[in-house]
Amino acid sequence: MINPIFEKKFLEALDLCNSLSEFACQPSDRPCQAIHLFCEIGAEPQSLLELNALYSEQILIAKKSIEKYARIVDNWKTGNCPFGVKDHCNIVNFFLSLNTQDFYFFRGDNFTPELICEFLQDWKGIDLFPLLSKKAQLVTH
């Protein structure tokens, strides 16, 4: 059973992604806010996987919003997350691709899923490496 607090945070993060259309070509700290929410859920990695599966259709819409925004912005410093806003979009997209594993990055090819996991472990103390494995299985309850 999905933790309702995590589910609320997940939906809040999706809303933040969808609201990026209001910031065309302008800096926004919303991707950073979404990262904080995903990291809170990431304390229980399996919850991230389950929520990704449960809201797969909404995720597709959110990912389109992120991509549209990320393609035109500069990598400005925004919010209180390390790195720039384009990197934040990469990380948000990473969180929303954990179930499908179709990772897509808007900036550079050096910011790999493995590197993002390493960074999140270092920064937030969450271990998402098990979710990168192709063998990562969605546990149904």
Binding site: C25, E67, D74, K77, K86, R107, N110, F119
Partner: protein, 131 residues
């Protein structure tokens, strides 16, 4: 052109750790001496325009405007400097020339300048095909 000794002073410890390989490429570009002349000659552009764009994107502009090192930009510049620039690299060159003109010569806010320049030279949009 003398470069600020604290070029990466705006980066925190995570950024320094994970972006070090790209920072190294920026240092490599900064140390290049013939790139400006090669690019100016190849694209038939004034040397000072290329010099200003390089300093803006890879030199003093980095600290002044708190840019993050960008692997795609640095790879594009290295290709341009070898006369191997692609059509998309050329868009980046014109993007940086135009943006540096608006910011440095006209004193425009960097974010506003990027917005304007992006409409004419949408380098980041052309860089990756839509997913």
């Amino acid at each position: 052109m003398p470069i600020s000794s604290n070029k990466w002073g705006h980066l925190n410890r995570y950024e320094r750790l994970y972006l070090q390989p790209v920072m190294d490429v920026y240092d490599q570009i900064q140390a290049m001496e013939e790139d400006v002349l090669i690019i100016a000659e190849y694209y038939q552009l004034p040397t000072q325009e290329i010099e200003r764009a390089k300093d803006y994107a890879f030199g003093n502009g980095v600290a002044r405007y708190q840019f993050y090192p960008d692997i795609d930009m640095s790879r594009a510049w290295l290709r341009l400097a070898k006369r191997e620039g692609t059509d998309v690299d050329r868009i980046l060159l014109f993007h940086e020339i135009y943006e540096s003109q608006l910011v440095i010569i006209q004193g425009m806010n960097q974010q506003k300048a990027h917005s304007i320049v992006q409409k004419r030279y949408p380098w980041s949009d052309l860089l990756n095909p839509p997913s």
